[in-house]
Structures are given as structure tokens and as C-alpha cells.
Symmetry: C2
Subunit: 371 residues, 2 copies
Amino acid sequence: MADTTDPRLTPLAASLPATVPFVGPETMERQRGTPFAARLGANESAFGPSPRAIAALRDATPEMWQYADPEAHDLRHAMAAHHGIAPAHIMLGEGIDALLGNLVRLLIAPGDAVVTSAGAYPTFNYHVTGFGGTLHMVPYAGDHEDPAALIARAAEVGAKLIYLANPDNPMGSHHPATTIQTMIDAVPDGCLLILDEAYVDLAPDGTAPALDPTSTSVIRMRTFSKAHGLAGLRIGYAIGPAPLIAAFERVRNHFGVNRAAQVAALAALADPDWLPHVRAQVVDSRAALSRIAADNGLTALPSATNFVTIDCGQDGAFARRVLTALLDHGIFARMPGVPPHDRCIRITCGPADAMAAFAAALPRALAAAQD
Amino acid sequence: MADTTDPRLTPLAASLPATVPFVGPETMERQRGTPFAARLGANESAFGPSPRAIAALRDATPEMWQYADPEAHDLRHAMAAHHGIAPAHIMLGEGIDALLGNLVRLLIAPGDAVVTSAGAYPTFNYHVTGFGGTLHMVPYAGDHEDPAALIARAAEVGAKLIYLANPDNPMGSHHPATTIQTMIDAVPDGCLLILDEAYVDLAPDGTAPALDPTSTSVIRMRTFSKAHGLAGLRIGYAIGPAPLIAAFERVRNHFGVNRAAQVAALAALADPDWLPHVRAQVVDSRAALSRIAADNGLTALPSATNFVTIDCGQDGAFARRVLTALLDHGIFARMPGVPPHDRCIRITCGPADAMAAFAAALPRALAAAQD
């Protein structure tokens, strides 16, 4: 691919990094010449979607010639009933990623201040940079994001947006609802908290504050990609105050949430049994990952998500060698990018065969990393 | 929905229209309280996708827990082979709509000039306005877009983008490849022609100029939504010079082209028989629509697309009454928005039962419109 830059780009676009920021596991597989034995790097749900969602999608395949409803009326109303809120508080998008992009576009002009945690979700940072915002990074407090420090920095720099994921990715930690509610109540005037709850369906009871979609201080992000097992279809949603939700209509790709996603998500939402099933599987898998870590002299951090972050006990260079060796041994995994969290590797929960593949590969990866 | 505006929007976002710009047929069905008998308003392909695409999608449903390949490697390489060009010249997106949005974002800063035809694709205008560009409208020449006038206006206003659809929507007209090549050769320095070829698979041979993806004057837009019958899955693509194609990596939603779309499009591309089948069906349907128009004393315009634009023989107010009456009689259709083209209604091709429903409704709609 040519590495020259098109001279017609806007000054902002020309200033953005030219490298591809997100490399998928398929690219790694092509580079290594063979598929991974276990796909444990993207926090997908290998427990799959609800059988009802699969059946609904199969039944709907002949209808894919029709554009989807741009209002996603049936799904949005079902979600509103599910959450006990009005549909005007819900906006769907092509995954949380697309919603974050549109939200940043709506609120961030070049030079506007945005506060997030150093090492938190890189796609959010990508969007902020992409619209010319200025990122202010707050360190984690240990292995937790630091709500009070995020609020303090936002007040100090006059931020328009604060990003916090609860539970957190990549550390798997979480704050209880009371802590998050205190944070919401402290959001400065003129600022908005993005509360990314992609993993909240997998967290302990008491992690999510009660929904109050009339609050103008916070917008909540949820997804069908994690516990619901529909990552490949791209559907997430935002819950927030009606005027902010309505503002998405000014910039979004109105026909972007595809018909397969709407059909499958509606069926998934109507299945009361699947999330409890997935939660039980995830609890088992977290325990398996903790045991595997302990068997190899490593420490698994507590997790409120469908992944376990494992402290490799040394520095970032060592953990990076462990990760590389895992990849060489057929395990797709990832790791935190920023010290001191880069002492860890991050392993997605999965069924027994995937756990067994990881258990077999880890000792060999550790041996290779010691060399 | 609250109609107040969130005070935190950027000045640009606050300046954008607050109304929902695109109303889907499902919304109209909810308003009328009953489904349409025939869905002939969105230029979807009621002939459906290739049976191979349907089968591939059904087989892939259990895999929807996996994010799709953000590079869409297999599909992009298959498309490159299909078109006889290198993969570096192809960018996939969530429909042409998403590609237009990203392209405008890359090239248009507030105040930059953009040239299009008055009455052409409104979603393109939506994106230009959304990024603060200034739209310059050129009238059609009769029922055709006017390539020479578009080029002249672009030179006059120093446009960074020109938009032309060939074949055209909403008029169904087309220019031969030689005319379009002359236009490409005349694009001013510093300007880019967006050649929207969404309908080109349905046009006569000799409509598309030969692909020359090294040309920096043009980017071509194609889609699986029209002839391929996969509108609901949202997948389109751009063909252009490698540095411009690479620039999309700076702003796009990398995981946005969903797995269902990639699977179905790959299977559709591998079926050599489906497009000829669809083309034959569309030819039959165009003839049926022309007959129905003539039977009612109206004139069908020549069409190079999967829709027929019918001149209702009077002014815009009359055609609007015809359209409203058609909707009342269960026919979802649309019409051009700008005079003098708003003397017409626009009817999508479809199978015999849909044509029969339109044939039954049109005389009643015309009678109602005369009142």
C-alpha cells in the first residue's frame, strides 16, 4: 500500500496517524500462516449467542434484501421495556465504537479537552484524536480506574467529556454502583461522563447504578457484543438524556444498524435464560483461568468481566515475551499497553477446550519468555 | 422526544438540522397502522440475494459471536480478483452511505466547496452539511445530470469534491462510459470526483468506464445493496487511488463491516449466475412498469437502474398527491424532491405480484389525485 498522503486531506485528517490502529486476529493468523487454536484476545463470547437469536437470524436470511428499520422501532421499544425507560432515551449504533465516534463528533471541536485513564479503551482515544480533541490521561489507582481523580482532572482542564469503563477493560476490575453514582453526581457543569458498561452484564450485582436517563451528567454505553455473544453483528446502544440522544440523528449513519443485528438482538433480548447461562459459564471459566495462572506461579486479578488479567510478576518486556510466545503456540490473547499494567496478559473466558489449550500453552510460553 | 438542544454540542453540531432526515417505510407503516402491500420505494432488490449468499449466511449464524476481520481480507482479495485490480485500491464500508461520510470527513473542512446536482442523492448532502462543507447545486440537463456543468462549477468555486451518480438516482438516467471518462479527465487539480455506481450492475454494457484505480481524479462507489440484494446487511465499497483508500484507516470504524455482510458478500461474488438472473428480472419489471404507466396515460422515463421514474404529466403538487394516494393504497414508493423532477414518482422494480399490486393501485391513486 502506498504510504504517501493524499494532498487533498483536511489539515486535521492529514495530522492523524497513517498506520492502521487496530490489527485483528485474522491478520495475525495470516502472518503466522496457521489459525489460532484458541481465540482468547478480543473478549468475545465463545459461549455463543442465545439459540433463539441464532434461530431468528437463520429464519430472517431471505429478508436481507430489505434495508433495516432506521429507527429500529421494535428493538428499541423492547429494550425500553426491558430497562423500564422511555425509547427516547435509547440510541442504537454499529457497536459502542460507532456510538463513541458519533458522540465525540457531536461534542468535541478541535482543542476541546477530554479526560480518560492512561491505558483505558484505545478506540475512544482514536475517536477523540480523530476529531481534534485533546486527551488528558489520569493514572489508574492500582488496578482500578480512579473516579475521583478523573473528576478532579476534568474540572481542572474544563473537559467536555470523561470516559470511564465499569467494569474496566483491560484490568477486569470494577467499582460498586455507589462509587459510580458519586462520580456521576460530581460531573462538572458542561461536562458529560461516558460510562462504558460493555461488560456490566457479567459483573456482580450492585455494579451498575440505577438508570436515571434524565440525568444530563452521564451517557451509558451497553452492547450485544459481550454477554449476548453477537460481536460479529455490530450492535450497541447508548442510554442518556433525550436531547443528547436526539442529537445523534444529526450525524449518524441512519441505516447503519443492519437487519441481521436487529433481528438477532430482539430475539436475544426475549430469551431470559441465556444471560444467566453465560454468566455461570464465565464464572467457571474465570476460576479455570485463575487455577491455570496459580499452577504456573502467576496471579490472576479479580475479574468482573468475561476475561481475566493475569499478572506475570515481572516487567512489561517479560509479559510481552509471554504474549508473543502464547501467540506462537496458537493462543490469541492481548495485553495492557501501558505500565505498570503491561506486567499482565489478558485472557478471554471460554469453553473447556479453549481453557485446556491455554493451560497447555502457558507453561511453554513462560519457559520461552525466561530464555 | 424533547426538542431542546444539548448545550454541550459543538457549534457545528448545534447548527445542524434537528429533525430526522430519513424516514423509513416501517415508520410510515406504523403511522398508517398496516403494512404496505408492496415495498417499491427504496430501490431494494425484491428478487433477493443469491441462494449461495443465503446458504452461506445461514451456515455462519453460529459464528456471529466473533468480530469480523477488520481488513475483510478474504472478501477484499476476492473483489480485487473480480475487478482485476490490487486490494490496496479497495475500501469496504457499512454501505456507500458510511463511505461517503468518511470520505467527506477526510476531505471537507468547514467552508470547503462541494458540487453536486440539485435533486441528487440527499445522504451525500447530509454528510457535506454535517462536516460544515458548502454545497453548490448544479441543475440537471433535462432528466440527466450534467457532467460538463458540474466540472465547470467545480472549477469556478474551487470545489474539493464533485458528486455524480451514474446511473442516476432518482431519475434512472445514465451517461455512457465515454462521457464519464471525459468528465474524469476534466476534474480540476485538487478536486476529487465521487462516481457513485450503486446501480451500475443493472445498467447497459458500456456505462462504466474502465477501472483505472491509479487515477487520483476519481473514487468509485459500488454496493452489494442493489443488484446483489443485500441492502439489509450494509456493505458497500470504494475503488480509488491507494493513498486515498489508505486514508480511510485514519477515521473509519474498523470493525464496522459486520461478519454476516462479509460472509454473504463473499458467497454472492462467487455466484456467476445471480446477477444475470437479476438483470433479466429487472428488464422484465421495467417493461411492466412502463406498460402500467402507459395504461394510465403516463410516461415512464428510460431506466438504467432497478427502478422506473414515471412522469405524472403535471406539477409537483399533483405528483405528490399521486404518491400520497399510492401510500394510502398500500404501495410504498418515493418521488424526486426538486422541480421539475418532482412531476415524477419513482417505483422500484419487483416481482410480478408487486407489479400487479402497483397496477391495481395506480388508477385509484390517479383518480384520488385529480379530486
